[in-house]
Symmetry: C2
Subunit: 226 residues, 2 copies
Amino acid sequence: MENKTSKRRGTKPSPEKVSWAVINRLPRYHRYLGELLNQNILRISSSELSKLMAVTASQIRQDLNCFGGFGQQGYGYNVKYLYGKISELLGVEESYNAIIVGAGNLGKALVSSHMFERRGVTRLAMFDVNENVIGTTVSGIKVLSMDELEDFCNLHTVDIAVLTTPKECAAEVLDRLFACGVKGVWNFSNTELKTEDKDRTILNMHMGDFLMTLCYEIKKKEDKGV
Amino acid sequence: MENKTSKRRGTKPSPEKVSWAVINRLPRYHRYLGELLNQNILRISSSELSKLMAVTASQIRQDLNCFGGFGQQGYGYNVKYLYGKISELLGVEESYNAIIVGAGNLGKALVSSHMFERRGVTRLAMFDVNENVIGTTVSGIKVLSMDELEDFCNLHTVDIAVLTTPKECAAEVLDRLFACGVKGVWNFSNTELKTEDKDRTILNMHMGDFLMTLCYEIKKKEDKGV
């Protein structure tokens, strides 16, 4: 049920009150709501949003009610307000600096993505051990030698490192990155990295998990068809 | 609470009874349990598994109890049995054929990944429109012309297409793939693709959503530190 009143409108969303599962879904809401704003759609019911996002209306109400009373019965959600609140919670106004470690195919693909710019993340440099790529430029970003990592991080504030090295050296590179003051590592090295340091963040990407989910969906539909 | 009895041991997990959120978490359980088996660890308590996977023990019990009574009090989970049941539910024994559309940096990075082999997915070919890459080979997989797509799909059973084209042509390529009988599309083209066809599956990857989650975590820890 959407809340009848908008009494709690001014409530500042508190990260502590919002579960990790909801947080993980917020970028998607943010993306869809931004798209609605671009189309000048200023209000939307949970059922319309549900249809658009292919999520149950009950899930949407449950997720969005975490922030307080956004929805008004008979009116729906105020798109601009909701977008603003989610932006605030996700901290999209904060700017960060990133480096990409590993200038292979994946590193090159990632560094060329618009997602960094869109999120306010500045790509400072790439790093590699391969003499053939050191000194080259990918999408305007220079590839430096791994030997220069520490000096570079002393000169620049590096918040984020995107790790695309082979998994054999991932743990060693992680230690160097954290020693350099990097706060968050986005790990594509196909190994599970961990840290005991509660001030650091590691986001492990396991592409194989997604492939497995896709195969599961295909099988489920095949089974139904039989 | 873990179940005291193992009465329901023989229960076949039914996909209908397991929520989408749980399904999405299963590949991760599968990965960790496989790792435990490799280390010859045959039983594990939910609290140990919780520590290992950095998930709450209650979440683990809730997820794994979906399948029936795996856990036994004082004994914990039977790793081999649980791994088998999750494998069965995920359908990891099923083999599929895949093509990769787009042989740019991302396509090249993905085609070189071991995840396909590990999941029993055979990479048949790559496709591109760029004359400079058509005819070349990436990780042993040949790059064919997009003009050959329909003929190729007539000759081979193609279950999965990994879509790494620019977003401008993604929708058009999707139509062609579905017309060719492709069952599932793993979409990296940075656009939200949809289908009305209930027999087809689209898995949209939005890398920017992950970047946003990482930035959120960094900000949260910074805020706490202040």
